[in-house]
Symmetry: C5
Subunit: 355 residues, 5 copies
Amino acid sequence: MTSRFIKKLSKKKGLSPGTLVFVGHERKYEVGISLIDYDENKLVEKKIENIEDCFPCRDSQSTCWINVNGIHDLEVIEKLGRHFNLHPLLLEDVVNSDHRPKLEEYDDYLFIVLKMLYYDEEQEEIKAEQVSLILGRGYVISLEESEKDVFESVRERLRKGKGRIRKLGADCLAHALIDAVVDNYFTVLEKLDDTIEDLEEELLANPSEKILEDIHNLKRELVFLRKSVWPLREVVSEMSRESSELISNDVLPFLRDVQDHTIQVIDTIEIFRDLISSILDTYLSSINNKLNAVMKVLTIIATIFIPLTFISGVYGMNFQYMPELHKPWGYPMALLTMAGVATIMLTYFKRKSWL
Amino acid sequence: MTSRFIKKLSKKKGLSPGTLVFVGHERKYEVGISLIDYDENKLVEKKIENIEDCFPCRDSQSTCWINVNGIHDLEVIEKLGRHFNLHPLLLEDVVNSDHRPKLEEYDDYLFIVLKMLYYDEEQEEIKAEQVSLILGRGYVISLEESEKDVFESVRERLRKGKGRIRKLGADCLAHALIDAVVDNYFTVLEKLDDTIEDLEEELLANPSEKILEDIHNLKRELVFLRKSVWPLREVVSEMSRESSELISNDVLPFLRDVQDHTIQVIDTIEIFRDLISSILDTYLSSINNKLNAVMKVLTIIATIFIPLTFISGVYGMNFQYMPELHKPWGYPMALLTMAGVATIMLTYFKRKSWL
Amino acid sequence: MTSRFIKKLSKKKGLSPGTLVFVGHERKYEVGISLIDYDENKLVEKKIENIEDCFPCRDSQSTCWINVNGIHDLEVIEKLGRHFNLHPLLLEDVVNSDHRPKLEEYDDYLFIVLKMLYYDEEQEEIKAEQVSLILGRGYVISLEESEKDVFESVRERLRKGKGRIRKLGADCLAHALIDAVVDNYFTVLEKLDDTIEDLEEELLANPSEKILEDIHNLKRELVFLRKSVWPLREVVSEMSRESSELISNDVLPFLRDVQDHTIQVIDTIEIFRDLISSILDTYLSSINNKLNAVMKVLTIIATIFIPLTFISGVYGMNFQYMPELHKPWGYPMALLTMAGVATIMLTYFKRKSWL
Amino acid sequence: MTSRFIKKLSKKKGLSPGTLVFVGHERKYEVGISLIDYDENKLVEKKIENIEDCFPCRDSQSTCWINVNGIHDLEVIEKLGRHFNLHPLLLEDVVNSDHRPKLEEYDDYLFIVLKMLYYDEEQEEIKAEQVSLILGRGYVISLEESEKDVFESVRERLRKGKGRIRKLGADCLAHALIDAVVDNYFTVLEKLDDTIEDLEEELLANPSEKILEDIHNLKRELVFLRKSVWPLREVVSEMSRESSELISNDVLPFLRDVQDHTIQVIDTIEIFRDLISSILDTYLSSINNKLNAVMKVLTIIATIFIPLTFISGVYGMNFQYMPELHKPWGYPMALLTMAGVATIMLTYFKRKSWL
Amino acid sequence: MTSRFIKKLSKKKGLSPGTLVFVGHERKYEVGISLIDYDENKLVEKKIENIEDCFPCRDSQSTCWINVNGIHDLEVIEKLGRHFNLHPLLLEDVVNSDHRPKLEEYDDYLFIVLKMLYYDEEQEEIKAEQVSLILGRGYVISLEESEKDVFESVRERLRKGKGRIRKLGADCLAHALIDAVVDNYFTVLEKLDDTIEDLEEELLANPSEKILEDIHNLKRELVFLRKSVWPLREVVSEMSRESSELISNDVLPFLRDVQDHTIQVIDTIEIFRDLISSILDTYLSSINNKLNAVMKVLTIIATIFIPLTFISGVYGMNFQYMPELHKPWGYPMALLTMAGVATIMLTYFKRKSWL
């Protein structure tokens, strides 16, 4: 299960850095490539079979967005890298899906690694898919680990042609893509929020043993989420501080906006951690309290009956000379004694407020 | 319950940033707008029906304060934004009531987001309402999420015409508004202080199971409070360090004063966290001690009577050849033996100081 | 009880900042004012009835120290403020006894807020009284919240006329006053040290339930102490870094000395926190161990006698056809069996090292 | 066992710093020295018997890599030091295998200390072997504590003559060696990951007492791992910030890559710590729950039978005048009473949801 | 016991700073003074009776080291101070043995306070003795609190005349003294390491109640150790960054070496804290597990016999009309029933895996 936290990098051991090796879960689907070439007035959208078909757009005046779904076809990545003159280490990072979010500044482009997150209802855990962005002069290349696409909303906005996105250039597109990824985090947070709420209700209503497992799982999800989101804060903050000429001043307030959202996500994660740890405390204490209550009942019943049973035991002895046994008032007397002992003890417990 | 910690931002997913969408609890009341236009000598106060009626004051020489109660009427916000030339992202933040406190510096104005807090006696939790301030040259716009108004005291001071507030300009007004919000936090802290005090007393007097729930709730309140107040520290500190020409030197000491208060609020929150965690420790330990005490009684009573019962059981056996049974001294002998055993055990327990 | 952590600031809500309102415990004694005017050669000491009598000394060449005991007489404070040209916010801070230690630099004077601490033997808690210092050119004004005076030792040194204090000016006096306050902290620490020592001894000798309450109280005291001392570190460090011309180079090493003491106080508080938390751990564990030991005795006694009692129960049955009952060896046989069972069980427990 | 955390440095006490004393586990094998002398076109590889045979290569134009396996032969180290003009303290650090990773800049060379880690399957713990690198102009000297060699993959790449490594000089070789060491950490992390996964499965399936020991051991391993890796972060970061002319700009991106890996290792260690602490919590709670469940069964069985036994005890008393005993309905009546009592108690427990 | 953490500074309360008061444990031995005057060629070593005899060496060309054992003779300290022109506050710090390690730069000398640590086998705790160093031009004065001497090794090296120490001047001597003190820490760490190792072994073999006390004591020792060593890090780091002309460049690498050792000591202390807290966790859990195991045995034995005893009780009742009692198969039937009930319960427990 924990294998989520570390992908098997060791198979890369001993290879020269810059060697392309796909690191990730096995993928079987075909790599999908799409190209959108747009400026303020026109927009051309194409499904691409052959990666070479994208290359002309690099030199066009308009902004060009190449989106690749699937990073396991190393040949595609290599061709792309050669044409756009990308650093070998960058390509290595693209195909290794186990990277922390980061920003790297190269001479002609910025390289951004993000984590797209979604909640897998079936396995009941958060999944992370790596998304790499390359922001160059007049183009954006986005490389997604999975078939799933989170950028449909951005495409919609481009097609509609409204808003700033068509007027501003590649930097605005890059912002829109990052924004789409970060917006998605809130869905995951809401899912977790619901789970925590359910847990709190269950905790008060009926604290069963399953809660313990749920809490442990939630903690694991939060650890995972944190790992995926935490470094993003720095990434976006670096971008908005960036002196790079690839990012225009018009886009800076929007980046600040994304940063606000990122900080909010991180805050919420920390709050969830606090809440879960408080839930665990409360759960453990309430379990303890329950044990306590059960123990009390045992104590009281046992403690009352043990002396009574002893008395009945005494009069069950077979000694020949036990004067009480032969008196008519013997039996009622014994019963009364028992009742008396029971009453005294109940009173004592009551005074100690154990009842 | 936890839904307080994250409002449903996901409904904004896929929209272009800068699109106005009201994010918050549903509001039904009508938006209320008031305008106060003042300088050292005069003060005009108006209830406004139509937001356009506020616009002339922007160009007046006097200081003008527009207060809007209710941010769910997007049309009002948009008109205001267009006239005062406010950035679309700023407007988006105003209507999204789930923002952390923050300060943003624009060319012509400062934008400040605050949280107004009050204790909801009915639901027994702290509520936060967002307050946005826009401080421009000669005007302040305050936008409150709720119908509730925390600025009445500021209005009073303006009307009375005493003190610095009428002499100094818009920056002093902005300070007064922030001060009113922060002063309000102390009411909430005092409420929590009382609750903690009650808890401590209950803890010593009668540690019932309800304490556990109270502690968990208090923790949640503190987490919520912290989330709302913590970023404010940075906001005020940034303002007082601000090189912005919108804030005059005369107002700086007052901002430092607000910052002192903010730090005091945060200190107190941290102290409350410490106290609550200490209360939890003490509660758990005292519960444990109680269990301990109960166990001891069980042990002692059970342990004393079990051997006695055994002895009576022996003499209750029906063997034909049990010489003791037929001796006159059999019964008193058995009783004496029992008394002896009981005495030995009690002495042992006493020496072990279990009694 | 916790009301110590937050004084009722809310009664100030809605007032203009700079309005004087006394915030603190109710005071009934009369305000006492004393004046010491000295230079290297002469020293004049006066009890003052009327605050105006202090004012001439401001313009004298000698150093002048005005000490006010009691800050609840607002008129005195106001007159003082007017004559020495003190900022309204400063006066507000003086009369509000719920401030954190802080240093504020004004144009003509430094304003320092300190906490004088002492251990109240009766209520068994640490009390804090606010002390405000105003260090101007040639004068020091000290304002104490309480009647209690911590500056007697400084007065003694001034009267004796020995040491640097008479040669150096107002800055040296200010240092001496701060030093007197900080020295006082060690008395409180020693008191706490003794309490912790007692607790540790009690813990080993006889861990009663009262320890729990003591630990909780100690924690509260430390939280309180920390709140009062922690910000002082920054205050003194700021002073000794201060470029202010009010503080001469000759006094700097002495300030560094005070800073050393402050750090030592804070270190000791942290050490106490560590120790108390370790004491709590140890206490809880030893309580647990005790429960454990008690449980073992119960287990062993009960477990040994329950089977024996069962055997005696069997032979106490009234079946007509129980051959053993009628054999002469029946009774000794039964007793031997019982002894055998007991021996086996004891051996088993011994082997499990439960004995 | 903990002796891993501190090697016996005290045997060095009192010696002048710079005196060579081997500090480490006793080593018996012979020191192995190998030399690789290469440039873009040629590669010469030699096993060396006599350390003096390496010295000529220092002045060659090509890049020269001297690898020494075994640091316990002080004579070899001293000769090397004298020829390459190494600082005595550097040599002392080389032979003292208990150093934290660090980077030291000398005039003519950089000195880097690393920890090579591997998982010892037999002793089930992580072992650390010290690796020292000296990067000079045109040469790299690597000194390994153990016979084990982690640099075979680097040698392979050099022999194949492909990739940047043969073209770039000594700095690239140094990077390759560090990279080989860091890559190795992932193997250790994967091993730990597997162990944690096993633990989590065992935790859910069958939480035995052995888990506790496993958790403690894992914690110790993580403490050890952290100690070995944590300072590396700073080392690599310093190197990539290094203004030293020994490191060319071409190598900087590769160093950044190593730094990324280091941060990833540290992140993973922190995540493992979180997971283990969560596993411990869960384990303790589930043990508690189990105890709880067992207690409940005891309570219920005991609590039901104790009153029944009491009833049977009453009718086992030998009083002469017990009217019930002589009625034909006495026995069934008694049995019915018992059944009734049992039913009432079961119902009560059911309603309390203890069943 | 805790009095170790704070010496009674309060007796200094009210005195002018710079007044010499010995703060420390009472000392009865006589103060011992030794003088070593050396340069590269000669070395003169003297026992001194009268402190004035040291003064001439101050103006000699050679390096001079005055070592004073015992700081309770204030007259000696005062004379020394007057002759070497030492600041009164410095002298005060020398005789007050409760100072944190610190470095103070005066015009003509550096003042360094260190803690010499040793493990007192008798009282089983770490003791700290204060060592003050004054490094001036051509002389070093070392003042030790105790009779014990840690500098014998340095003296040896000086006498042998080998190594850098005789060639380099007073700064190298100061380094050697600090180094001797820090080297000593490793002995203490090794002692603690052994104790922790013993604890871990005892923990696995036989977790007795004494462990709890040992853990608490170890924690106290670590708190104490940390207090004594932690500030040293900054001291040495400051020294090696020091622009003071008193420290020559040749000595800097050696200071860096001492700093490495200090960091290693601090690292090890933190590791020990981690280990001890893990040991405590493990101990508590294993105690819990033991209780658990004991409880299970009780449950099982009690739960099995309670119903059997009940059955025997039933047939021990004295009802006249109990048909079973008079049947020949009654007794074996009852025994069989009992065996059956026992078997069913054992099977149930087995299936629940409680056995």
